[in-house]
């Protein structure tokens, strides 16, 4: 198990003056992660997993929070909520075995769309992937998810249709 990459922790101020923290996920984030997924609209969960996720299973939560910070890196965005934190967004990549390419995924709490945190998360994630020496980052997006495709294009991803599956689109960025 790799060490917790504390150097990736950052604080940012967002448009409404609130301060958010971007940090790698920790194994003890299970409760926050579960709350976050439970609060997401069904449609948002669908766009992320591209299938119906009724209630996140223990196995899924474990997969999302207990990571090796090497092949699998996940950054979460949190805001203070009383005496604890609330998770409002997360982005992660999982690298291929050969360590050249990685696949990424991102989820933002429904109330935090258009807040700028998606950009902050992706910027940090891309930076970490570059630092690890990965060559490309790619994602699989539902073709109808036009907001995500626009966002990805803005981040310099190339949009590549998948001929055998028009319902999904591949997006790729050279790091």
């Amino acid at each position: 198990m790799a060490e917790y990459p504390a150097h990736l922790v950052r604080k940012h101020r967002v448009y409404d003056g609130r301060t958010v923290t971007i940090r790698p996920v920790r194994p003890d984030d299970e409760v926050l992660e579960r709350e976050f997924l439970n609060e997401l609209a069904g449609e948002s969960r669908y766009l992320r997993f591209q299938k119906w996720v009724h209630a996140p299973s223990d196995k899924l939560i474990h997969f999302l929070t207990d990571i090796d910070y090497d092949r699998h890196l996940a950054l979460v965005c949190t805001v203070p909520q009383g005496d604890h934190e609330e998770l409002v967004g997360e982005a992660r990549y999982v690298a291929d075995a050969d360590g050249r390419n990685c696949e990424f995924g991102i989820m933002i709490a429904d109330a935090w769309h258009k807040s700028g945190i998606a950009g902050l998360l992706m910027e940090a994630l891309i930076g970490a992937a570059q630092a690890r020496g990965l060559a490309t980052m790619e994602g699989q997006v539902l073709t109808r998810n036009s907001a995500m495709l626009r966002f990805a294009r803005g981040l310099g991803f190339e949009i590549q249709p998948i001929p055998e599956d028009p319902a999904t689109t591949r997006i790729v960025k050279r790091l």
Partner: protein, 561 residues
């Protein structure tokens, strides 16, 4: 924008229609009832009702609903197959000022419950055969008025008695039910006759229908269709057919269910406006009986979906229909799903008229495009935009793409819905900033304005023209305690266009395919049911945990073929 398709319009089809030809459906119906009083409006299993009878019976049902305290805008759910009671109930509710919620009678109790709760229906009119399902749905909600009808209720006395007896006691098609306070259809008519239908003014912007249509996540949503939307689409469709059809002289075969928007507009409303006669086919799956009916009826028009035309062409005895028809047939229209070239060509060879393909969606009342009626051959395209309609092919960014390029088919026109009932977020997503309705269907336009489908980009499975969403199926399957994971995909099927194949990961090792299917039957209507169930140890996923539907689909296609 320039409507390049206007140059390709057949002679006699106007560029624009008068979308305000009638203030409401009520006004249109009342005019037809006056003008065509003694003509047959509907026939079903040999029984008929004239326009005059439709006028009187629908007045009675309308008066009954008003006397029960229903006000203008209250929702009335109609849960009927194609029977004479359907148009009576429909016009009764509409003329009394109510909003009609069409419900597929084959819905399960939970699907029905969702639609009743979401629409807020306070009255339902249901066929007794489905009263058992309604009873279970009503256990959890408050619908104040329930009218129950039996199959033969509008047949002449002796046949009525006999039909109702046979349906109930010989063919045993009526599961036992008990709904307190339910009133029989004939009793409702009798009560309505004793009171008077109060004339409630209806205008174009009054809501006529909450017409439910599937959603990509979870449950169906209700498209709000106004009297104005419907009148516009009736006028557009009638204008398209105007050169071919004659007032008061047409007979149309109505085999598609009227609770679906296509037959509702294209058959029931358009032919009522023209003083034509609708032959209601209650069960088109009973192909031998359907073919017999076609041989006995000199029909001049027919609508259907690819699956239905295909089944007819394959049926024994159908080859004798053209001789019996003696050249009366003028128009055959197919919608709801892509038409296969082989089906279109076989049809034309046998029947002598081409199969005209059209395109539409519930949100547009529904007709958007149709091929010209004077076409000599099947075009393989979904047609030209109908009068007073704009169609644009837009890119992901919302810009118009060049002719020949693929983009999203988007529609503007007087037939386009106001939005979805109780779903402002879904409504916002359905329209662009410029007011284009986003159909979610990908296509391209040629230089004459003909539109052709590209692959559908929504992850939707189209079974005989009905949309089944993988998420809704997966959601229902996941409710089974023995299921760990589930994935549904569509595979090509020669009969229904596409069929649902379901992949299941077991939680309970003893789980059987029969048990999964039985569970599905409780929660899903027939067309959404998996044609095949396969068990897997895991579903194919990307490293990050996204399901790989294309791999599932390839797997399903291999094993299904």
């Amino acid at each position: 924008m320039r409507k390049i398709w206007l140059d390709a319009y057949p002679e006699g089809v106007p560029a624009e229609i008068n979308a305000c030809a009638y203030a409401s459906i009520k006004e249109m119906l009342e005019q037809s009832c006056l003008r065509f009083r003694d003509k047959i409006a509907f026939s079903n299993m040999g029984a008929t009702i004239t326009y005059g009878e439709l006028d009187r019976l629908s007045c009675d049902i309308g008066a009954y609903l008003q006397a029960r305290g229903l006000r203008k805008g209250d929702r009335v759910a109609i849960i009927l197959p194609n029977l004479l009671q359907y148009p009576v109930a429909l016009f009764g509710a509409l003329r009394a000022g109510m909003v009609v919620v069409n419900v597929n009678p084959l819905y399960t109790a939970s699907e029905l419950e969702h639609q009743l709760v979401d629409s807020g229906a306070t009255a339902i009119i249901v066929l007794e055969n489905f009263a058992y399902t309604a009873e279970r749905a009503l256990a959890k909600i408050r619908v104040r008025h329930v009218v129950i009808t039996q199959v033969g209720d509008l047949f002449p006395p002796l046949r009525r008695w006999l039909t109702n007896l046979v349906v109930k006691h010989v063919r045993r098609l009526v599961p036992r039910w008990t709904i307190a306070g339910a009133v029989g259809f004939r009793e409702a008519v009798a009560q309505g006759r004793r009171s008077k239908l109060e004339d409630r003014e209806l205008r174009a912007d009054d809501v006529a229908f909450l017409q439910y249509t599937g959603g990509t996540t979870g449950r169906p949503k209700g498209a709000i269709l106004t009297h104005g939307n419907m009148i516009a689409n009736i006028e557009q469709t009638a204008a398209w057919m105007g050169g071919v059809l004659t007032e008061g002289a047409e007979t149309v075969i109505t085999a598609l269910p009227l609770y679906h928007i296509f037959a509702l507009t294209a058959n029931l409303f358009v032919f009522l406006k023209l003083g034509g006669s609708n032959v209601l086919v209650t069960n088109p799956r009973d192909i031998p009986r359907f073919v017999t009916e076609l041989k006995l009826t000199r029909f001049t028009a027919i609508t259907g979906v690819n699956t239905l035309f295909n089944a007819l062409l394959d049926a024994a005895g159908f080859a004798r229909v053209p001789a019996a028809n003696r050249g009366a047939l003028k128009v055959a229209v197919a919608g709801g799903m892509a038409v296969q070239r082989t089906v279109a060509e076989r049809w034309q060879q046998l029947m002598g008229v081409p199969l005209i393909e059209g395109y539409g969606l519930t949100e547009a009342s529904p007709i958007v495009c149709v091929n010209p009626l004077n076409a000599l051959h099947f075009s393989g395209k979904i047609g030209l935009p109908v009068p007073s309609t704009e169609v644009a092919i837009l890119s992901e960014q919302g810009n118009e793409v060049d002719l020949g390029e693929v983009g999203e088919i988007c529609v503007r026109g007087p037939q386009v819905m106001r939005g979805y009932w109780n779903a402002p977020a879904e409504t916002a997503k359905a329209f662009t900033a410029d007011g284009w309705l986003r159909t979610g269907d990908m296509g391209w336009m040629d230089s004459h304005g003909y539109i052709e489908f590209a692959e559908r980009r929504k992850d939707v499975i189209v079974v005989s023209g009905f949309k089944a969403y993988p998420t809704e199926i997966e959601d229902a399957v996941m409710l089974h305690p023995g299921v760990k994971d589930a994935g549904a995909v569509g595979v090509p099927d020669p009969r229904s266009g596409e069929a649902v194949v379901l992949f299941v990961v077991k939680k309970d090792p003893a789980l059987s395919a029969e048990a999964v299917l039985a569970h599905c039957k409780q929660h899903l209507t027939g067309y959404k049911l998996p044609r095949r169930i396969e068990f897997r140890d895991r579903l194919p996923k990307t490293p990050i945990g996204k399901i790989l539907r294309r791999e599932l689909k390839a797997d399903a296609t291999r094993s299904y073929g």
